[in-house]
C-alpha cells in the first residue's frame, strides 16, 4: 500500500515489540496503522508518540504482572497443601543458605565497622627468611610513616595485659592495648564519654591517661558517667580516666582499655619489633599500590640498616585476611558450597513436584492456548508462579535463617572471635537473599514452564486423563532425579571426609591425662618482681599454699600445659653447628616445675624427669619429646647431649638432655603434625607469667575460690584469670571442628532426606500414571515380580547414571577441601564406598515402596478407572 515506510514508522514498529504479548496482539496493529495514517510529522509528533508508547510499555507490563500474580495467588490458594510443601522445602533450602551466607558475610566480607572499611589495612613486617609476618619496630614504623604517600595516616598499637586495681574493687585483669594517639581518629571511632587521646598524650613524660572500654566501665563502674577524671592503677601506674568507648568497640584485638603508646627507650631499637601497624589508605589507592610503595621503602631500609633489617620486608593485608585463618575461610566457603548444593537438590525436588502437578494443569493451559494466549504469556505466567513460590520460600527462609544464625551464635558464645565479627543481617545479606529467591524461583520453574508451554492443545483437550506424560516429560523428570542423586553423593562425600577428618583431630590423643584438672593464670608485674629470684620465690611459696588447699592432689606451675599453645624459641645444639643458609632451629619450649609430668600422668620413655636440683646454675637440664629426639639425633640416644635454648640471650648456658617423653600435644591440637618440644625446669628460667594446674578428686570447679585466696595471700593486687577446667579449655580450642562437623552432618542428612523424598515421589507418581498400563499387563498375565522389576528398573537406571556423575563430582568437591583435611586424602575410598552404599540403599528403598504397591495393584480396579 505504502512504499517504503519512514524511519519514524519503522522505529515505532520496532518499539511495539516491547509491549507485553497480549497487548501487542490486541492493539499493536491498530497503533501502527494509526501512526502511519498520521503521515509525515515533526519532532513533536514523534516525541509524543514515543513517550506515550514508553509509558504504555511500562504500564502494561506492570498490569500484566499484577494479573499474573493475582492468578498465581489464586492457584496457590486452590492447592494449599502443595503450596505449603513447596514453600517449606524452598524455605528450608533458602534458610540454610542465608544462614551460612550471613556467617560468610561476617567472617569474610564485611570488615571493620567503620566508614570505608576497605581502606583500613594492616601493615606488617615480613621476614623473608622465616617466611613469617609479624610486628614492626618503632623506627621502621616512623620511617614508613615519613615516606609513604599511599596512606592518609599510619598508626601503631601494641597489646598489653592490664592489671587494674587501686579504686577499691578487686584487682582485675583486662586485655589492654597501647595505641598511638591518632588511632581512633584514623578509624573514625568517636568516644562515648570524655575525650579522645591528643597528640601530647603520646609524648614522652606525658601524664598517664586511660580510655576505658564499655565492658570495664559497665562492670567496674556500673556505667557511672562521673567516672571521668578519676584515677585508676593500671599495672601499678596511676592513670586518669579521660574517656569511655561505646559498646562493642574493642579495637584492635578485643581490647578492653587503651593507653597512649609512648615508646620506651629500649622500644626505640630497630631490632625490637613490638608494634602492630595499621593505616587508612587514601581513597583512590589500592592495596597492591600501597604494597608496591612500601616494598620500595622497605628495600631502602634494608640497605640502610643491614644489621637489623636483613630480609625484612613489608606486607599489607586486610584485617579479615589476617584475623581469620585460611582454614576458617576455607571452612566457611565449603559450608556455603554445601548449602548451595542442598538448595539445588531442594530446587530439583520442587521442579519435579511442579512437573507432576503440570499434568493436572495441562487442561487449563490447553484451554488458554486454544483461546489465543501466546506461549510466551503462558511461560511468563508459570514463571511468575514459581518466582512467587521462591519469594514466599524466601520469607520463610529468612525466619529459618534468623533461627540458624542465633543458634550458631549461641554455640560459639564462649569463643574469642575478633570483635568486629558479628553475625547479623545487613543489606549484603538481604541482597543475597533476594538473588537466591529469584534464582530459586527460576531454577524451579523454568523446566516445568517450558514443558507445559509445549503442551499440544489438541492432544490435551481430546483426552485430559492422559495428560502431559510424554516421553520428553519423563526424560526431564528422570534427569532431575539423576541430578539429585549426583548432588547428594557429592554433598555426603564432602561431609563424610570432613567429619572423618574432624573426628580424627577431635579424638587425637593428647598424650596426657587432663581430667579433673582446673587451670588458671597469673602474671607477675616486673615492678614488684624484677628478677628471676623474686619470681622463683613467689612460685615456690604459691605452690606450698596451693598444696595446702583441701582436696588438692597435685599443684603444678608451668608456662603452658598439655593442649595449650607454646611460643617458639631458637635453640642451638652442641656439636651440630648450623649451616649459614639453614633456617634457625626453632622448637616449642614450655617452662615447667618438677611435678608437671606427674600431674598429667606423663612418664619418661628414656632417662629421667626433673627433680628439685635441676635447673640450678651448674645443673642446667632439659627434657625433650620423642619428636625432638628423632629430628635432631635420629637413632642415637639424646641423653647427655647438650643444647642451648635462646642462644640470642647472654647468660644462656648449655643444658643437658636428661630425659625423653612420648608425644604430648601442645599448640598442635588441631593439626596432624607434631611439634618438637623442649621442656625447661622452672628454676632455670622462672617465668613472669604462668599457669596453675590443680588436680583433685573432688569437682575441680569448686577449687577456683581457693586459688584466688592462695594468690591473694601472697599478693593483694594480683588478678587470677582464665579459670577453667582443662577439658573446657580444650573444647574451646576445637570449637570450629565441633561446629562445622555438626553443621555438615545436618546438611548431609537433610540432603539425603530431600533426594529420597524426591526419588520416592517421582516413582510413586509414575506408578500412578501407569496404573492402566500396569493393570493391563497384569490382566495379560504379568507376574507381580515382573511388575515390581519394571518400576524398580527405572530407579536403578537413574541410580546407574547418577552414581558415576556423583562420584566424579564428589572427587572434585573433596579435592577442593584438601587444605581442610587432616589425616585423610581427597577421594578417600572408605568414605566414598560407605556413602555410595548409603545412597544406593536409600534410593532402592525409595523405589521399592511404590514398586511393591504397583505389584499389589488389583488389575480390575486399575482398568476400570
Amino acid at each position: 500500500m505504502t512504499s517504503r515506510p519512514s524511519l519514524g514508522v519503522r522505529l515505532f514498529r520496532a518499539l511495539l515489540r516491547l509491549l507485553p504479548a497480549d497487548f501487542r496482539n490486541e492493539f499493536g496493529g491498530a497503533m501502527a496503522a494509526d501512526v502511519e495514517e498520521a503521515g509525515q510529522h515533526g519532532a513533536r509528533f514523534w516525541w509524543r508518540e514515543i513517550s506515550s508508547l514508553a509509558a504504555a510499555v511500562l504500564r502494561e507490563h506492570v498490569d500484566a504482572l499484577r494479573q499474573d500474580v493475582k492468578h498465581a495467588l489464586r492457584m496457590m490458594r486452590r492447592t494449599p497443601g502443595f503450596t505449603l510443601v513447596v514453600v517449606t522445602a524452598i524455605g528450608l533450602g533458602i534458610g540454610m543458605n542465608t544462614t551460612v551466607f550471613t556467617l560468610v558475610n561476617a567472617v569474610l566480607l564485611r570488615g571493620l565497622p567503620y566508614s570505608n572499611p576497605d581502606e583500613i589495612v594492616l601493615v606488617e613486617t615480613y621476614n623473608r627468611e622465616q617466611r613469617d609476618d609479624g610486628p614492626t619496630s618503632w623506627p621502621d614504623y616512623e620511617d614508613w610513616k615519613k615516606d609513604t604517600q599511599a596512606f592518609r595516616g599510619l598508626a601503631a598499637t601494641a597489646p598489653q595485659p592490664f592489671s587494674i586495681s587501686g579504686d577499691g574493687g578487686t584487682p582485675e585483669r583486662a586485655a589492654g592495648s597501647r595505641v598511638t594517639p591518632n588511632t581512633f581518629g584514623l578509624l573514625g571511632q568517636p568516644v562515648l564519654l570524655g575525650r579522645d587521646f591528643r597528640e601530647e598524650d603520646g609524648a614522652p613524660g606525658a601524664a598517664p591517661v586511660i580510655i576505658l572500654g564499655h565492658s570495664v566501665w559497665e562492670a567496674r563502674f556500673a556505667s557511672d558517667p562521673t567516672v571521668l577524671g578519676r584515677v585508676l592503677r593500671v599495672n601499678e601506674v596511676p592513670m586518669e580516666i579521660i574517656g569511655v568507648m561505646p559498646r562493642g568497640m574493642r579495637f584492635p584485638n578485643n581490647a578492653d582499655a587503651w593507653i597512649p603508646l609512648v615508646p620506651a627507650a629500649d622500644g626505640l631499637k630497630r631490632e625490637a619489633r613490638g608494634v602492630e601497624v595499621f593505616g587508612r589508605l587514601k581513597g583512590n589507592v589500592s592495596l597492591t599500590e600501597a604494597q608496591t610503595e612500601l616494598d620500595v621503602i622497605a628495600a631502602r631500609l634494608e640497605r640502610a640498616y643491614p644489621q637489623t633489617n636483613k630480609s625484612i620486608g613489608v606486607v599489607v593485608l586486610t584485617f579479615n585476611a589476617s584475623r581469620t585463618g585460611a582454614n576458617i575461610r576455607a571452612g566457611f566457603l565449603m559450608l556455603l558450597a554445601a548449602v548451595s548444593l542442598l538448595l539445588l537438590i531442594a530446587c530439583a525436588n520442587v521442579a519435579n513436584l511442579l512437573i507432576a502437578r503440570a499434568v493436572s494443569r495441562a487442561r487449563e493451559i490447553g484451554v488458554r492456548i486454544a483461546l489465543g494466549a501466546s506461549r510466551r504469556t503462558i511461560i511468563r505466567q508459570l514463571l511468575t508462579e514459581s518466582l512467587l513460590l521462591g519469594c514466599l520460600g524466601g520469607i520463610v527462609g529468612l525466619g529459618f535463617a534468623y533461627l540458624g544464625v542465633t543458634l550458631f551464635d549461641r554455640s560459639i558464645a564462649n569463643v574469642t572471635k575478633p570483635y568486629w565479627i558479628v553475625f547479623s543481617f545487613d543489606w549484603t545479606v538481604f541482597g543475597w537473599l533476594a538473588l537466591v529467591c529469584i534464582g530459586t524461583g527460576l531454577v524451579c520453574g523454568l523446566a516445568p514452564a517450558l514443558q507445559l508451554a509445549r503442551t499440544d492443545t489438541n492432544e490435551v483437550l481430546k483426552d485430559a486423563s492422559r495428560g502431559a506424560t510424554t516421553g520428553r516429560g519423563r526424560l526431564l523428570t528422570s534427569s532431575l532425579v539423576v541430578i539429585e542423586i549426583a548432588f547428594t553423593l557429592a554433598l555426603l562425600a564432602g561431609a563424610g571426609v570432613m567429619i572423618r577428618s574432624f573426628l580424627g583431630i577431635y579424638n587425637a590423643d593428647l598424650g596426657a591425662r587432663i581430667d579433673n584438672v582446673l587451670m588458671s593464670r597469673i602474671s607477675l608485674p616486673t615492678t614488684r618482681y624484677p628478677d628471676p629470684a623474686a619470681r622463683l620465690r613467689f612460685a615456690e611459696q604459691l605452690q606450698e599454699r596451693l598444696l595446702a588447699l583441701p582436696g588438692v592432689e597435685h599443684a603444678s606451675l608451668a608456662t603452658s600445659f598439655p593442649g595449650e599453645g607454646v611460643g617458639a624459641v631458637r635453640i642451638d645444639i652442641e656439636g651440630q653447628p648450623r649451616a649459614s643458609a639453614e633456617l634457625p632451629r626453632v622448637v616449642r619450649s614450655p617452662v615447667v616445675d618438677t611435678v608437671y609430668f606427674g600431674t598429667f600422668g606423663i612418664v619418661a620413655s628414656e632417662g629421667r624427669l626433673f627433680d628439685a636440683r635441676d635447673g640450678a646454675p651448674g645443673a642446667e637440664a632439659v627434657v625433650v619429646n620423642q619428636r625432638f629426639a628423632e629430628a635432631h639425633f635420629g637413632r642415637e640416644s639424646p641423653i647427655g647431649r647438650r643444647i642451648m635454648v635462646r642462644p640470642d640471650l647472654k647468660d644462656t648456658a648449655w643444658a643437658s638432655i636428661i630425659g625423653v617423653i612420648p608425644h604430648v600435644r601442645h599448640g598442635d591440637t588441631t593439626r596432624d603434625e607434631l611439634d618438637a618440644v623442649v621442656y625447661r625446669p622452672l628454676r632455670m628460667a622462672p617465668p613472669a607469667s604462668f599457669g596453675i594446674a590443680l588436680r583433685s578428686q573432688q569437682p575441680v570447679a569448686t577449687l577456683s575460690s581457693g586459688v584466688r585466696t592462695a594468690v591473694a595471700g601472697l599478693d593483694q593486687d594480683l588478678p587470677v584469670f582464665q579459670i577453667q577446667t582443662m577439658e573446657e579449655n580444650l573444647a574451646l580450642q576445637r570449637w570450629p571442628f565441633r561446629v562445622f562437623g555438626t553443621v555438615f552432618v545436618l546438611f548431609a542428612i537433610f540432603g539425603l532426606v530431600l533426594s529420597t523424598i524426591g526419588m520416592y515421589a517421582v516413582t510413586a507418581y509414575s506408578v500412578g500414571q501407569r496404573r492402566t498400563e500396569i493393570g493391563l499387563r497384569m490382566a495379560l498375565g504379568a507376574q507381580q515380580s515382573q511388575i515390581s522389576w519394571m518400576v524398580l528398573k527405572r530407579g536403578l537406571g537413574q541410580l546407574a547414571i547418577g552414581v558415576p556423575l556423583g562420584l566424579a563430582l564428589a572427587y572434585v568437591v573433596t579435592l577442593g577441601m584438601k587444605s581442610l583435611l587432616v589425616g585423610i586424602g581427597p577421594g578417600d575410598p572408605v568414605t566414598l564406598a560407605s556413602i555410595l552404599l548409603i545412597v544406593a540403599m536409600v534410593t532402592v528403598a525409595a523405589c521399592l515402596v511404590p514398586a511393591r504397591r504397583a505389584a499389589r495393584l488389583n488389575p480390575t480396579t486399575a482398568l476400570r478407572n
Binding site: 500500500m1 497487548f23 490486541e26 492493539f27 496493529g29 491498530a30 497503533m31 501502527a32 496503522a33 494509526d34 501512526v35 502511519e36 495514517e37 498520521a38 509524543r48 508518540e49 513517550s51 506515550s52 508508547l53 514508553a54 509509558a55 504504555a56 510499555v57 504500564r59 502494561e60
Partner: protein
C-alpha cells in the same frame, strides 16, 4: 478517558480518528499518543463502556489493521452522567468565584 468517550459519542470511529477528534474538540490542548489511547481503550473495553465495531468503511479506504469502536448504551449513560457531574462542579465553582469578586 472522558475525551475518548465524547469523541465516540459522535459515532463509531477508529483510533486515529479519535485522536484527531479529541485534538480538534479541545483546540489542540489534548493530543493523545497512541500508547495512551489504547491504554484507555483497553480499560473502556474491559469495563464495557465501548465495544469493537464490526461495521467498517469500504475496503478501498480501510486498513485491515485498524480497530473501530462503538459506545455501548452503558457507555453513553456514563458519559452523560460524567458531563452532568462536571457541569455541576463548574457551576458551583463559578458561583463561588463570582461571590468572592462581589464581596471584594
Amino acid at each position: 478517558m472522558f475525551h475518548v468517550l465524547v469523541a465516540l459519542a459522535d459515532g463509531d470511529m477508529h483510533g486515529y480518528a479519535v485522536i484527531k477528534d479529541v485534538s480538534t474538540r479541545t483546540g489542540g490542548l489534548v493530543v493523545l499518543g497512541t500508547g495512551t489511547l489504547y491504554g484507555i481503550v483497553k480499560r473502556l473495553l474491559a469495563e464495557g463502556l465501548v465495544v469493537e465495531s464490526k461495521r467498517r468503511p469500504a475496503a478501498a479506504i480501510d486498513d485491515e489493521r485498524r480497530r473501530y469502536y462503538r459506545l455501548t448504551p452503558f457507555g453513553r449513560e456514563v458519559v452523560t452522567a460524567e458531563t452532568a457531574r462536571l457541569e455541576a462542579m463548574v457551576a458551583a465553582a463559578r458561583s463561588t468565584l463570582t461571590l468572592r469578586k462581589e464581596s471584594a
